[in-house]
Amino acid sequence: MKKYNKITPEGTSDLLFEECLVRRYVEKTLASAFSSRGFNEVVTPGLEFYDVFDPDFSGIGQEVMYKMTDKRGRLIVMRPDSTMPIARLTATRLQSLPKPIRLFYTQPIYRNNPDLIGRSDETVQTGIELLGAGGIRADLEVIVTAIEALGQCVPNFRLELGHAGFFRALAEQLPVSDDLREDIRRAIESKNYAALNAILDQLGNSKQVMAIRRLPRLFGGEEVFDQAAPLCNDEKSTQTLAYLHELYRSLAELGLGDKIIVDLGLVQRNDYYTNIVFSAYVEECGDAVLLGGRYDKLLGCFDSPMPAIGFAINVDAIAKIILERGETFAILPVDILVHGETGFEIKALNYASDLVKNGIKCENSVFETRTEALNYAKVRGIGRIDIIGDTVEIINLT
């Protein structure tokens, strides 16, 4: 039988040395940015019941979840997302906590991606959730935290801002079936102008149709709000646009205007976001490195309705970018190799412990002879070897 004991499954990989250093650096930097803003860490299980991620409200297709059964035959999955488990635990175990609740996490998610397209099935994400708070103050708090945290790792990113409710308000007025409305949504989401126009051409030339037709092109800076204003002809879309503009102005006042792109074509994605949605892009990466938004309906699925907003950052993608930018995370050899002559092993161990206590990085030699120890130090590039016998002999190798 063929054995697969020397390779890892497709979509997974080992992380070695500087890859680990960078990943831990990113995790630590982001975690400290979150905790200094009052967010507290939680860890949720790697295995959860399938029902927590019910595709009807999670938008995660059942085909992308790694599934198995528990001891009683119930369907469980490897966590494909961290927001749903956090909604679950907030709705159950944190019910009595005063609101708002500020949580953050750093943990992998698992997705069974199609093969041979070069995607990871295991991705470390870190993110925050602000639960039990709605309104512009909460939205600003989370967006500013996102910009501040991401900026500490990759300074030159752009944050895209949209509102899932804007398309909803416009589409509600179209005299079409739900199926067709979904086709329209999908065409706008993929900026498929050809498909969108093909659908809209059959719907006449009402003001609403014209507005939807313009939607995928409505992205850019503050000018987008002026372009969009004449397209709003009902209270809901006008209010949504005004809200987004207010948010934009506040961010501009904070000096973040040049980082923000407004995209009114960011329609409600196939997920749990209901109001503002945002994502961040970096030049080196073809995918968004941060995804977030407000999900005011999700907690209701766990029978504890409350407004909530959060985002997740792809730690692996950020770490890869930092490594590629060539920022130095070199693995250095230890400062000193300690070698005890025969009969002085205990003395050598004590000597090494003293060095470590003084903040010096050292390795204790496990070789029988000093020749072997010397060779090892040379190969490893260790600059100094201390030979412990009756006396201590210090040999500098550099």
Binding site: G118, S190, A194, Y281, E283
Partner: protein, 210 residues
């Protein structure tokens, strides 16, 4: 500024796209006299053309190593992926169709039908939308052979004029959808280089219509 990188599907779509670029006024000599090079400058070094197989165009754009791509709707439907499909270029027109032996009622009877195709994903989703269970067999070469040899009841394939079908005693049972060349864009590129990309798209759209 880095040039915008455009992946073109080698062959007919490449020629049609180059013709479109020349109509716009871009200097395409490097692409026309390419030799064995695979990355070629066009225009005033504002753009770089990458020549690739259709499926690879999608892969390169999806991963963001190319900003834009020109690829047939058939490949997009078969590979289905995440990127923006912003322009129907109007050339490379043909259609996907279900075809079988002339005069035979494909939908009659209750036995599970066997379908031969080069496009298993398209065939699968087409029959899923009809709530029909079928057995799909992937064929690499001339799919028309499969029903003639008795391997399948029908085929799902690209039809241009229908003459190959006709000469082999086959006919279109149902058109699945129309196909043409599309301009696709990586999501991050469109956000980060909006002005440049929109300008190019506008030029291409204007010339593609005339």
């Amino acid at each position: 500024m880095k040039p915008l990188r455009i992946a073109l599907t080698k062959g007919r779509l490449e020629k049609d796209t180059v013709a479109l670029f020349e109509k716009i006024g871009f200097d395409c000599d490097a692409v026309k006299n390419k030799g064995r090079k695979l990355i070629l400058p066009i225009g005033d070094n504002q753009f770089e053309v990458v020549l690739a197989k259709a499926a690879d165009v999608i892969t390169y754009v999806e991963h963001g190593v190319c900003d834009l791509g020109v690829v047939g709707k058939d490949t997009i439907m078969e590979q289905g992926s995440s990127f923006y499909e912003i322009l129907d270029l109007g050339f490379g027109k043909c259609k996907f169709a279900l075809a079988g032996e002339k005069g035979k009622d494909f939908f009659s009877g209750y036995s599970t039908k066997t379908i031969a195709t080069k496009y298993p994903n398209i065939a699968r989703s087409y029959f899923e939308s009809k709530a029909m269970d079928v057995k799909i067999i992937k064929i690499e070469g001339s799919v028309e052979l499969a029903p003639l040899l008795g391997l399948s009841d029908a085929i799902v394939d690209i039809v241009e004029t229908g003459s190959t079908l006709n000469e082999n005693g086959l006919e279109v049972i149902e058109t699945i959808c129309d196909i043409s060349a599309r301009l696709i864009v990586n999501a991050a590129s469109l956000k980060l280089r909006k002005a440049e990309i929109e300008k190019l798209v506008e030029l291409m759209e204007r010339e593609a219509r005339t």
